[in-house]
């Protein structure tokens, strides 16, 4: 805590102009916080916890998608615009797989769901991961030494391509996604409840995130990833296969996004071919908010963006939420480009 205060103070008194800019930033945040607290106070506890539950579930999905952005950015400094669409692809693929696995709405419930759902997750995550590895192979790897602009443009192109393919496949409609999660509310304390659905979403997301963190911190491939992110050339000299490591990063990121797509479908019961781009941008905002390139940062950022999202929806106006999220994106990049947990990286 003390170090954080010191760091904040240091960032305020760096230079006169920076301090002025930061003062403006703090003022805006303070005004927003006071306005929100006043509304929350008026709304009462029950409504607040309900909103918080929505926010945490939404945030868990954001976090899953944000992890993919942050891992890819951490390792090759590329904003993988196609990532949001890989996420939607996960929802679309799982929708197509459901009849194959015997997952029909209303005919299957309870414990019988567990095995087919597990299968659904594994197959979808695998397909999404392979698609993303393919994208990296085709669109990013040949351009690794090209000017920075080039892979960004192909990333946008890949995003459009995926959206187009999904649009051709299922049309530009809101598709119904079957509802398998239980509908009841879990009572917590004093009349405050949380939806069982939200709890399940959060639990699945947290399991996946913990698995990822363990993998990156403990496994040999995870170590290779961290080494590659730090210094590609040095990592290569140490005998790390750079291409394989980068492919593995894309693979894991997309697997998480695919899982996120299924969870999104199960939670909202509706998907649309063009959802992913917007959603990806929110997730990217979350990654930037937490500190791009930082894995716990992405998880934290995702949760925070989810909560901000639901508070804005619940206490202010739905039509201003998107403006708020993109405002936060610009705000963070201008005032604190390293995000909440990120470190200052020198420009290469």
């Amino acid at each position: 805590m003390a170090t954080m205060v010191q760091r904040l103070r240091a960032s305020v008194i760096r230079t006169p102009t920076a301090s002025l800019v930061n003062l403006v930033g703090f003022a805006v945040v303070a005004v927003a916080a006071v306005a929100t607290m006043q509304r929350v106070y008026q709304g009462g506890a029950t409504y607040f916890f309900q909103t918080l539950g929505f926010g945490l579930a939404e945030g868990a999905i954001f976090a899953l998608v944000a992890l993919g952005y942050t891992m890819v950015y951490g390792i090759i400094e590329l904003i993988n615009f196609a990532h949001g669409d890989v996420f939607t692809l996960g929802a679309f693929i799982s929708l197509g797989l459901m009849p194959v696995l015997g997952l029909t709405e209303g005919k299957i419930s309870g414990a019988a769901l567990i095995l087919p759902l597990l299968g659904l997750f594994v197959i979808t995550m695998l397909i999404c991961a392979l698609v993303n590895v393919g994208i990296e192979r085709v669109a990013y790897r040949p351009l690794r030494h090209a000017p920075r602009l080039a892979p960004l443009i192909t990333a946008i192109g890949m995003s459009a391509l995926l959206e187009g393919v999904m649009n051709v496949w299922r049309g530009p409609y809101n598709l119904h996604y079957p509802d398998f999660l239980p509908e009841y509310q879990i009572p917590l304390f004093g009349g405050v409840t949380i939806a069982a659905k939200a709890v399940m979403v959060i639990v699945i997301a947290v399991i996946l995130m913990v698995a990822l963190t363990l993998f990156v911190n403990r496994s040999k491939l995870g170590k290779a990833m961290r080494a590659t992110a730090q210094d590609k050339d040095a990592a290569q000299l140490m005998g790390i296969d750079i291409n394989r490591t980068i492919s593995a990063t894309f693979f894991i990121g997309a697997a998480l996004a695919g899982a996120g797509g299924i969870i999104y479908g199960l939670y909202y019961n509706s998907v649309q071919a063009f959802d992913g781009f917007q959603y990806g941008l929110y997730a990217f905002t979350a990654a930037v908010f937490g500190g791009i390139g930082n894995i716990p940062g992405a998880a934290l950022g995702g949760m925070l963006i989810g909560i901000i999202f639901s508070i804005s929806d619940g206490y202010f106006s739905v039509s201003w939420t998107q403006i708020l999220i993109f405002g936060i994106l610009i705000f963070v990049l201008v005032f604190r480009p390293t995000g909440l947990l990120g470190m200052r990286v020198p420009e290469k």
Binding site: V21, E77, L78, I79, V138, A139, P142, L143, H145, A146, P147, R148, L149, A150, P151, L152, I153, T154, I156, G157, M158, S159, A160, L161, L162, E163, G164, V165, N167, V168, W169, R170, G171, P172, F277, L281, F284, T285, V288, S319, W320, Q322, I323, F326, G327, L329, I330, L333, V334, P337, E347
Partner: protein
Amino acid sequence: MTRAGDFVRENMRNPNAIAYFLMAVGALFYPIVIQFINGGNGDFLVGLAADGGIYVLMAIGLNVVVGFAGLLDLGYAAFFAIGSYTYALVASNHMGVTPIGHSLHVPFWIALFIGMFVAAAAGALLGAPTLRLRGDYLAIVTLGFGEIVPRLFRNAGIWTGGVPGISALDVPSLPGWFQGPWIGQNFVWVSDFRFTSANLTAYYVLMMILITFVVILVHNLQSSRLGRAWMAVREDETAAAASGVNTVTIKLLAFSIGAATSGFAGAFYGAKLSYVSSENFGFIVSITVLAMVVLGGMGNIPGAMIGAIVLYFILFKLLPDAPLQMQALASSLGLDSLNQSNPNGWPGIAEVVKRSQYVIFGLILVGIMLLRPQGLLPSQIRKQELKHSEHEPLATPRQLQG
């Protein structure tokens, strides 16, 4: 005469000169040829070309930002929206509805420049705090800005007309103009000439004049000190800064000039459509213009123009017609079953073609970047840069000859 001959001889091998020449000739003869082919009913196509000119203008502007200065701007449509809405506010009755309570009717010729300056100011305002950021962060900031601006216009309620937008904008007018056989009338002098939707040729001519104006302007900028500074910043920002280029100002200028061009095009768009709505300025517009610049050749003005013309033709003429043509083709081949939608999820061939617009975008962006990163009509300097990796020498003598 000999001087003209020398000029021709000098530029005969210059692809840019040829492109400019072909585009100028094409622009001159397009309305006549179209009217002749369609037996005088080609007004729609002439109007379509005038709308295409809006994209050409935007491509020229985005080329300044992306091609000259190397800044990726993914929210370019925001400035287009700002230009349009500015025009809508200063040249319609709408201001009377807002709390200001007094409507403005600035003539088109002045409002065009107001739209331009407001967009440029917005560009400077966005750029000033964000251009210090590294390239990909800038792309994201502009993307966020591009998402915010149309939503702000939609949410601003009474100020911008909300969801329905603002309609009945003033059309351009001139104190007088010639009418002649080119629109099927006798040669007459018309006083108080108004650009109406019945006279799309007038819009076409106006558009071509605006494009010529902007091309000359941007071309001069490119070969000025500023243009060289842009190139230096694009190639190596650190080296440029070390050589005394004020990189932030230079980038800000590129950003604002790009925004100004977009605002300029936006004002024209508002006037021609006589209507603005926040729905018309989404991310799709930004990405379309980017695809045009990439397709044509980043950093080359005629390249960006040709990219704009080609892609505009594909998107707004070929694709809208394609569903019906595919349907006709399928029937003539005896494959009528392809035209019907069936319960297995096949929506009919017309629908499939209609949906594949994004696939085409994606293929253009990825394909061009991988196969011909310099674009259809490349800039000779940029070509070297885009084709060779940073680990190779930038240009060996043999490549320089080519």
